[in-house]
Subunit: 319 residues, 2 copies
Amino acid sequence: MTTSKAPVLALSGGVGGAKLAAGLASVLPPERLQIVANTGDDFEHLGLYIAPDLDSVMYALAGINDRARGWGVANESWNFLETLTRLNGANWFQLGDRDLAVHVQRSELLRQGLSLSETSQNLCEALGIKHSLFPMSNDRVCTMVDTEQGELEFQEYFVARQCEPKVHGFRFEGQASATPLPAYYSSLTANTYQAVIVCPSNPFVSVDPILGLANVRQVLGSLQVPVAAVSPIVGGKALKGPAAKMLQELNMPCDALGVARYYQGVISHFVIDEQDAGLAGEIESLGMQVLCMPTIMRSVSDQSQLASTLLHALTREPA
Amino acid sequence: MTTSKAPVLALSGGVGGAKLAAGLASVLPPERLQIVANTGDDFEHLGLYIAPDLDSVMYALAGINDRARGWGVANESWNFLETLTRLNGANWFQLGDRDLAVHVQRSELLRQGLSLSETSQNLCEALGIKHSLFPMSNDRVCTMVDTEQGELEFQEYFVARQCEPKVHGFRFEGQASATPLPAYYSSLTANTYQAVIVCPSNPFVSVDPILGLANVRQVLGSLQVPVAAVSPIVGGKALKGPAAKMLQELNMPCDALGVARYYQGVISHFVIDEQDAGLAGEIESLGMQVLCMPTIMRSVSDQSQLASTLLHALTREPA
């Protein structure tokens, strides 16, 4: 049972998804929005638990993300990494001095016995975030990338090898036995969300880890409320990251249509950028409604505008 | 059996001792000097193994210590700590961004199975240090401070409570079963050092942890070569740290004489500052030779000068 005051659920990966998540948080009060972040990219590095997507969304929600660099914390410095490099330490993962504090503190809280979702709540509160940000699960799921160079852990593929190896497929280690976080999963199965929004994140490595938990994909496909995905591909290119390269290597159309097909059966609405308006007909023939709007978020104001336009289209509430 | 080419052994605590250790390294070639640092102050913090005295000596040897602040690394920044504070993390121990890299890398090397002395060698090599720097032991020894407020771990006493609680005594947890590092202990028991120098460090919490390992104190007391201690107390005041306050609270003379008495039976030579020349007679009556020279090290050149003057006095070699 949904009401117009029911919350919206946003599923997000890292940077691109985080922008829309922050936009949604700027136009919806805390009780009207829940955000779930992918944790398939999480990994241990130098003894630290690192949750890149949770962090990206958290930084965006707190307004302390570095917009110019496109990832990490604003006003960052790199003296830790510079010194670590001098010490011949593992410097392939870029750890800024401020960002590092999040990893150290999250790891400390985990050692103290908090669950991942509790650490997230703790850190978000400290940063003044009022909206709910959940990890997709408190259980470990590891995204493994099957490539021409063998199977690689996600960060090894993404950072260390810079997405260079050609991709054959993906495997989400631990997913079969991982429990979706009850904080959102119970609402999802009880159908109490007003709408679900899949943020413009990589379908393969950011969204699939979430959709593949328990029966999340099937539940989304059977909901009577709008389930909308925003295309991370605009004009045939990924706004950020390897999504376009992956579509090509997996022999899928490298455009918004390819993404729409991939979400067929799960979503009711697909959001494309105005410059992809020409694909609307073909996407509609997949059995989904197409929403066409400016989707490129260069500024905080763009984020809010997209969130507002999208919510209005999905819920018929005033933008 | 010692020869004039035999190495000198220096025992050091943190900052004050590190200055003389660096001075000795500036006038002796690597094969002529071995430095042993106290590890009784080592502790675990935020999941990191931190060895403050080893680090202080290492930074001084590498010439990257912050002379103005008096501890830590030069050209330091504090963005990690600032962010950790915002996250309500444990910020009572001052962790600079560069210093943190040492703790993270040392902890990583320990997890990889290296011993503490191997991590020290690894880090020193990376920093271009040619002289040997050893932890006093690869076994954990924890300095516990018995105070009017109960027994405190050293860092709790030193940093968190800023040496405020009145001291009754000390206990070195693990010392009885700890093995002195063979790299220096075997040379010590074989009497192959040309001289031993106890750097100007706190006798109670920096030097005693080393002297109390196995029979190190007894071996030093029986050596036929010079065993010299440099007073950390000048003009009745500690140059740095709580040594003077501890002497008072333990009802010992709060001057160089008090320190000399404390080392009676262990050392053959006691080095006092020129301004304490008046104490020479009383100290000599304890059965040790007194060397009187400028001992305050304000600059790198002061460090070298003290090292040079002291070595000349002990070994009769040209300064």
